[in-house]
Symmetry: C2
């Protein structure tokens, strides 16, 4: 089992705005993909769609301003059954976001791609909270045309 790890520090006075960006359809659409629908409550499933496909995330855990956990219940074979964990903490004027996409079976080439792409979306999330503007799909950073 191998994991994708990331970390950003978001300039904001409390973790609330980051938490909102991870737990509301409007927030998620602001940094990951315009096409975000579904039920963002615990036990609900959020559907994220991109031009080449998408991911269905079941919300496993929501701890306000501290932690969000999703399980991938639909999407590419390599993703299904993996989990995505977000941990937040305040450090002076930064909300530190620790990200883990856990449980990949093998470090396949697609995992390399997803690691880099997640990194660009972390920067998008940071930008959304700091400036009001993220770079969600289809206006996302392209790392290997057309993806």
């Amino acid at each position: 089992m191998v994991d994708i790890l990331h970390r950003v520090g978001v300039k904001t006075s409390s973790p609330e705005k980051v938490y909102e960006a991870l737990t509301t359809l409007e927030g998620l659409a602001g940094w990951w993909t315009d096409d975000t629908t579904g039920n963002p409550e615990v036990g609900g499933v959020i559907e994220f769609r991109f031009p080449p496909g998408g991911f269905d995330m079941k919300v496993l855990e929501l701890k306000p301003s501290e932690r969000v956990v999703w399980e991938v219940v639909g999407g590419p074979d390599e993703w299904v059954g993996t989990t995505v964990e977000w941990d937040l903490r305040q450090d002076d004027d930064l909300t530190i976001v620790l990200f883990k996409h856990k449980g990949w079976k093998e470090p396949v080439e697609f995992m390399h791609h997803c690691s880099t792409k997640w990194g660009t979306y972390m920067v998008s999330l940071k930008s959304l909270v700091e400036t009001g503007e993220g770079a969600p799909s289809p206006r996302d950073v392209r790392i290997a045309f057309p993806d």
Copy 2:
């Protein structure tokens, strides 16, 4: 042992320009840090410096247009002894860059940070080759002020 993985596709007709960007002081300075000095030959050590510190990389392997391997021989404790591997291959009009920073002892918080930061430098490398302009330190993408 845990690894940082990344992948980008660089729009260019052959891997030569990417290989140059990974194996010459001028190329490395174009996407990673302005302050790049040392000996980029096999057995040599390249010194990369950033405002908060730096890394010394011993060049272990150079296979033109295919593969570059460095061993970290100086820098933060978590980095020393790890290896950085670059594999290149051509796929139509893209040079596919597979990156591995291997051999981290533990998935510490600093590893999360370095993973995201490497991702931004992968995009910088891609941009350098495609447009002639990368985003090396100190003009790099900041992911957690001031880093």
